[in-house]
Symmetry: C2
Subunit: 331 residues, 2 copies
């Protein structure tokens, strides 16, 4: 088991605003002009597709949000908001979000540095066409003072069943906070950790360098992953049969149900992933489990089906899809 | 669906005692002599194997009890008790039970009449060698006055999920009792109906003919089976998706668990059988489900394994065996 096994996703985000422009641009023509400039600037960096919020259906908006490509904030700026997304959907550049520009990059596993470097290149291209609001003393200026300085937020999403179930997660969270980092559930602040998932990110953006932030997050994630691995060994060894039973049953239910709510699905998938981690369940491709999780989200599911489904229809379709996908990757 | 689908088992039992002998024979030689006479008398009727309680291990005794071949009463008469069992185990003749002779026949489905006729022939052979205690006015004399008269108890074991879940079972039980019949759980008086199983038997043995008893039980079972079938149609049609989900999940858990207690197993098998009844789950051989149920009983399981297992070991082995057997008969 590599220590990265429990780091599902790395995310880096840069908040940028424009010199001589307010953080929030209400004028429609002006706002549209900035979107076009961003689009032009990005041509050099990668191939991006441009989407205006006002052109997208409510279903498509929710689906993109579930894929982390856009935020609720951007959806709410329905008039002016736009997003540029690269081909593999690892990079999305939101325009007219809380800040004028929000660049973000998502990569599988523990790859904060790689994500930052990818974004840094894009940021360089953007800054050539769009002079950023920057203060010698404060650094990048942002709509919210918590982003002042680097404008950088780096986070990792971690799967921590053993630390959660053993109760050791409390002391881990305490220690992580002492390092100036924040621990949250998957869907942002305040939401409870679903299916043993935790997001760890930097709190401080001011008076600290980009590489400090990246190193702190990376090292912390490595340490926690190693701790999780060690606790998994002892904690589940003591409860081997019960854990084996739980993991196998979770797979059994997921491949034999006719109705599957999203929350029950998440809970059962956590046990399936644990089973894969512990070697109780064998899959051809463990990463595919995370794909199944993402694609079972309500609106992504509807989008895959081709139309908006009622909650019950979603649960029926989720049961069907999850059954097929899980069996397909089972060894 | 035939109306017999919900009648799992038919049982007929005759209680007999010997002329000029007490109901309970304590003298070891005398008791042994009677066993030998029974054995000799049975040669004409069928091929029987003779087992003395005192020669059997506690595990074997419990296993035979779980197969309904012997009773707790017979086990308790460890010194003198014996049983004669025919080749397909449909007939067992207990000697020195509550009465000196207890003949019983078990057949699959609603076959009370057939079971009685099978036993009646055996009873004739026995009576030639061993004159029964009989009174012109009272009929056959028995240790307990509740068996006086015909000495006949006929019962059917029924699987009644829809009547149970709809609550209609209460009025059914009330009506059955008005007919002079008794309703019990599977393992005898007082035990609660496990997995929607009910045993319906005649209360009265005196002042009534054998054919009256057989007809009453048969007709009542037919009526209840028909009622169950009708309620299944309406009750589960209204809850189609939830029921489909429940039945499929039960199969999923039974084929994907590492620990399976007997009581959970029974509950899940009830849902699997319901699923088979409703056409939600397809099996090559639905009757094999009842075989799986019988063979998952604690001591039968140990006997199959070859040694006595601890409760946890049993649950592990049950999970393993049930998984294999269920998958084997699934279409």
């Amino acid at each position: 088991m590599t220590p990265n096994n429990n780091v599902i996703l790395s995310r880096v985000r840069l908040a940028r605003n424009l010199k001589d422009h307010p953080f929030y641009i209400q004028n429609k023509e002006k706002a549209r002009e900035i979107v076009k400039k961003v689009n032009t600037a990005l041509v050099k960096a990668d191939t991006f597709n441009l989407y205006y919020m006002s052109n997208l259906s409510p279903l498509k908006l929710e689906e993109m949000k579930e894929r982390y490509l856009i935020s609720q904030n951007l959806i709410e700026n329905y008039e002016n908001g736009a997003v540029l997304i690269n081909q593999d959907e690892s990079v999305s550049i939101m325009v007219h979000e809380e800040d004028v520009i929000r660049e973000q990059c998502f990569l599988r596993g523990l790859r904060i540095k790689e994500a930052y470097e990818k974004l840094d290149k894009i940021d360089d291209e953007l800054s050539k066409k769009l002079p950023f609001a920057y203060d010698e003393r404060l650094g990048y200026l942002t709509a919210c003072p918590t982003n002042l300085g680097t404008g950088l937020r780096a986070s990792v999403m971690m799967f921590l069943p053993a630390l959660t179930e053993s109760g050791k997660i409390r002391s881990v969270i305490k220690r992580v906070k002492e390092l100036g980092l924040t621990v949250r559930g998957v869907y942002g602040e305040g939401s409870k950790a679903e299916g043993y998932m935790y997001q760890i990110s930097n709190e401080v953006t001011l008076g600290i360098t980009e590489s400090d932030i990246i190193e702190t997050i990376t090292e912390t994630a490595k340490e926690i992953a190693e701790l999780e691995r060690r606790v998994q060994e002892t904690f589940y060894q003591k409860r081997r049969l019960e854990t084996l039973d739980r993991c196998k049953r979770a797979y059994g239910i997921l491949t034999n149900s006719a109705l599957l709510s999203y929350s029950e699905f998440l809970e059962l998938m956590a046990s399936v992933k644990l089973g894969a981690n512990l070697g109780f369940l064998k899959f051809k491709n463990v990463e595919a489990l995370d794909d199944i999780i993402i694609n079972a989200r309500p609106m992504i599911l509807c989008s895959e089906y081709g139309k908006e489904l009622s909650p019950v229809e979603r649960d029926v379709y989720r049961a069907e899809v999850v059954n097929i996908k899980l069996q397909k990757i089972k060894e």
